[in-house]
């Protein structure tokens, strides 16, 4: 249950940063926090207290963790990193043209 609590706290923190804060970089941080919360929850939920799923020859394996959610999360992390990189690039670009990265000051973003 502890992992669910951390998931909810992290997710809500991210959502808060995404919706309430007007600084675009803080928005991106919020988005990444939400992603991190989901990935954390997936990994902790799939951990059933077993072994890492790598077999050695002659070893008796009784209980091991499912590797599929870990693989899927790895893909998710890669995708999250690339979207964050693209968003930050676009924010730098926006700052070059308008001189601000505040959502409220950019009339272009709010209409």
């Amino acid at each position: 249950m502890f992992n669910n609590l951390i998931f909810i706290i992290l997710f809500m923190l991210g959502f808060y940063a995404l919706v309430i804060k007007t600084n675009l970089i803080k928005n991106v941080i919020g988005l990444n926090l939400m992603e991190a919360a989901v990935f954390f929850w997936v990994i902790s939920f799939s951990d059933i207290g077993g072994k890492v799923s790598i077999h050695k020859l002659g070893e008796e394996v009784t209980k091991f963790n499912d590797p599929v959610p870990q693989a899927l999360t790895l893909t998710g992390i890669v995708i999250g990193a690339s979207t964050a990189a693209l968003l930050l690039t676009l924010i730098i670009e926006l700052n070059k043209f308008s001189g601000t990265i505040d959502r409220d000051q950019l009339e272009g973003l709010n209409d």
């Binding site: 995404l18 675009l24 928005n27 988005l31 939400m34 992603e35 989901v38 997936v42 939920f45 799939s46 599929v68 959610p69 899927l72 893909t75 998710g76 995708i79 999250g80 690339s82 979207t83 693209l86 968003l87 676009l90 924010i91 670009e93 926006l94 043209f97 308008s98 950019l106 272009g108 973003l109 209409d111």
Partner: protein, 510 residues
């Protein structure tokens, strides 16, 4: 086993990775390779149709390829049934026409543009062909990143702001999709779509509701249906015209395909009915359509207006599909096809005509029709098709949608179809009238105009761009007269949507 459907994804992917190297060697060869890639893709599609013509006619068309040789449900497989074939054909045709248009349109940073374009091609083909839930997520995210980069392609303040907004909404949707896929995996222990479909009904109804709601939110954000439509008009407005044509002609249709696949094949319409979500979704989609047409009525910007009209049409298609009748699917898929050609053609024509104006605003549209009469006539034909004027393709598809609503006794839906057409008459005729207004051009104006439009400065590029506009108009008129041509593919795709058991049997057993 047919390796051709794997190459449908690999060819554009390979072209995308090849183009930077070609640029290093000799930038003049780039266009040759772009054309080669897209022609190879078209050849693959055509050869799939020709080789399987017999099974297409008899109605048991199905192709599958096991990646790495692992059988489903353990391995990932690519599956192509009639519905995927219809979507793959129209997507490939749109991508083909728009890439030729781009050769005439895109002036600067051409190499980067084609890399992103072919990644979009690969991702949309992948999303259409795959039979694995997680693959759909990966391809959706590929579409989001590449299209986000293309929306910000103009490198201006508006373009960057629109791209940031687009990305924030769509990344959030992707995150929800990821959560949904993982929840399915934790509950059922499988990611294969057919395998999930077999066991989904055995879950508790609370979990079913949660998973369905997550997928619904994610896909509604991606499609731009009512509560989540606010990113759409701005990104349609600021993206370069070929990119807008891709956004409305390819991306929104791929998302519609994913919507049909997930809610009919994977989750199943019976589950939606049991959870009482179908009525809610029908009303949401109709309201979204209503709202789109209302916003379009007050819009003073031609590209943004077309974006709002897209919201209206996508809402209408979603609603008519949600009726879950054969007539509904017939009208819905026919309207997907016709809207794909009409909207992409309109953005293509718009991209040409807006070269003559300073901005996209209504007042600057003055006299555009006089500057280039033939393209403007094609533009008018496409607008009339959007309104639903016989004998154009838009009339045929709207007629079937209207009949489907009347057959299901959904009179609000029928009202929305007619309301959409009537408001479209008002907001399109305004622009047609403005385009024919007389303007006096001085010598200085013409000089300034020549310098202000660097993209169309070369004569042959101008010819390519106007040729594609005529091609779209010819498609609209030709298929409008012979819309019966779509009868067989539509019936086949309805069969493959409705008959879920057969899909499961073919994917798992084939």
């Amino acid at each position: 086993m047919d390796i051709k459907i794997l190459f449908l994804i690999l060819v554009p992917l390979g072209t995308a990775f090849l183009i930077p190297f070609i640029d290093l060697i000799n930038a003049k060869l780039r266009r040759f390779f772009v054309l080669l890639g897209i022609l190879l893709e078209s050849y693959l599609i055509i050869s799939i149709i020709i080789n399987n013509y017999q099974s297409l006619k008899s109605g048991d068309f199905f192709l599958q390829y096991y990646l790495g040789g692992w059988q489903p449900p353990i391995g990932i497989s690519l599956a192509m049934d009639a519905l995927s074939l219809v979507f793959a054909v129209i997507t490939a045709l749109s991508l083909f026409l728009i890439v030729i248009y781009s050769i005439g349109y895109i002036g600067h940073h051409e190499g980067k543009y084609y890399v992103l374009y072919f990644l979009i091609a690969a991702a949309s083909m992948g999303a259409i062909l795959t039979a694995d839930m997680f693959n759909i997520y990966v391809f959706i995210e590929m579409l989001t990143i590449t299209s986000g980069a293309l929306i910000g392609f103009k490198r201006s303040q508006e373009a960057s702001a629109a791209a940031i907004k687009y990305l924030i909404y769509n990344v959030l949707a992707g995150l929800l999709f990821f959560l949904g896929v993982l929840l399915i995996y934790f509950n059922l222990g499988t990611l294969n779509m057919a395998d999930i479909s077999q066991h989904f009904a055995s879950l508790e109804s609370g979990i079913q509701l949660f998973i369905t709601a997550i997928f619904l939110t994610a896909i509604l954000i991606k499609m731009g249906v009512f509560p989540f439509l606010f990113w759409l008009p701005k990104s349609y407005d600021t993206a370069p015209s070929p990119v807008t044509a891709v956004l409305s002609g390819v991306l929104s249709k791929v998302y519609l395909y994913i919507f049909i696949r997930i809610f009919w094949t994977v989750i199943g319409f019976k589950t939606l009915e049991a959870l009482n979500l179908n009525i809610l979704l029908l009303d949401l989609a109709l309201f979204s359509s209503f709202l789109g047409h209302l916003f379009a009525l007050q819009s003073d910007n031609i590209k943004r207006l077309l974006g709002y009209s897209s919201i209206g049409h996508i809402g209408m298609i979603t609603a008519v599909i949600m009726l879950n009748t054969e007539a509904g699917f017939y009208g819905g898929i026919l309207h997907i096809i016709s809207h794909m050609f009409m909207k992409a053609g309109l953005f293509v024509a718009c991209g040409y005509l807006l070269q003559y104006t300073r901005s996209h605003a209504y007042r600057d549209f003055k006299g555009v029709g006089i500057r280039n009469r033939s393209v403007f006539v094609a533009f008018i034909a496409l607008l009339l098709s959007m309104i639903g004027m016989p004998p154009l393709l838009g009339f045929a598809s709207k007629w079937y949608v209207l009949m489907a609503f009347l057959e299901a006794r959904s009179y609000f839906g029928a009202f929305i179809v007619i309301f959409g057409s009537l408001t479209a008459v008002i907001y399109y005729l305004r622009y047609i009238a403005k385009g024919f207004e007389e303007i006096k051009l001085t010598e200085d104006d013409l000089k300034e105009e020549i310098y202000s439009r660097p993209l169309l400065s070369v004569l042959y590029r101008e010819k390519i761009v106007s040729f594609i506009t005529y091609a779209y108009t010819a498609i609209i008129i030709g298929f409008g007269l012979g819309f019966r041509f779509f009868d067989l593919p539509l019936r086949m795709s309805i069969e493959s949507v409705m008959n879920v058991e057969r899909y499961i049997e073919l994917v798992l057993g084939g």
